[in-house]
Subunit: 135 residues, 3 copies
Amino acid sequence: MHIKIQSTTRKEMVDITARVQEVVTASGMRSGLCHIFVPHTTAAITLNENADPDVQEDMNRTLSRLIPVDPDYRHMEGNSDAHMKASLIGASEVLAVRDGRLDLGRWQAIYFWEFDGPRKREVRILLLPQQERGF
Amino acid sequence: MHIKIQSTTRKEMVDITARVQEVVTASGMRSGLCHIFVPHTTAAITLNENADPDVQEDMNRTLSRLIPVDPDYRHMEGNSDAHMKASLIGASEVLAVRDGRLDLGRWQAIYFWEFDGPRKREVRILLLPQQERGF
Amino acid sequence: MHIKIQSTTRKEMVDITARVQEVVTASGMRSGLCHIFVPHTTAAITLNENADPDVQEDMNRTLSRLIPVDPDYRHMEGNSDAHMKASLIGASEVLAVRDGRLDLGRWQAIYFWEFDGPRKREVRILLLPQQERGF
């Protein structure tokens, strides 16, 4: 199952929580693991606060200060900063599903994090149900 | 299944390996995956050395130097550094279970990493057993 | 199942994609999750670009600039930078398997990332199949 994303700027956090929940709901799975995966090397998946949009702004600014666009990079495409950010944040998240719902904390949202947009992107989801006798 | 944690300072690594193993043992699961999850946005889960406590001290210091508390942050709560650290380290770990034991390396422990304590926290665990014919 | 690795320098990214795929193929698993795990505290697993080797060079350089070898570290072994890098990048990746293939993006490879070599290392793999009726 795929979610399509069109990022609109170079750096952007896109809240995909509702769309991932839709996939879980449509599957009918009640309990198990939900694997959320970015098949790209200049974007990532993370969980963070869903309430104050300033958090996303602060995070984009902090990460860009940590990993600036560096004129010394050798990679010809000039987006090595985006590759580094992708490995720091990570290409996937694994979430538990309980009673048909993503088991997130009260303030957690799932973000697709674009580091080299705007681009057409996708997020892939695989669901692995617990067995009946599960733990 | 939940583990309750009471952090005692702003930044702290709490070794939860024995408590996670207790959950696995109590479940009776012999083989499969153990998903360890923090439902918070200013804390994380990581694996690291369990022998020399200086490693934890060095790591706390290094991460705080990378992501200082920044007077320019916009987020009103003033803990954007903690949100950034949470996304860098990550909200979950997935571990294999073999023969009823967490399959850790000799020097690996599971740490709950507090970035904005002291707070009451929890860690959630989901176990997904391999099928009998498993791989 | 294990993959053996002999790193040859202190910092090195080793592409293990083909070897992980061999393990998946040998298992006969068609669909499910593949857990790729480093049982070490000074190495990590990441996904990144497989085309231009300059990306790996840029990433090694950037990460070492972020986390330099620090004379103030307390840990006697003098490799606290490697421990910090391991927690930033992470000890595991979880990948989907579809139709018997690791479900990677076009430009993604799986890298074992050595931070304190040269050493003999291993990567452990656990496969968790979807049930027949899977999602």
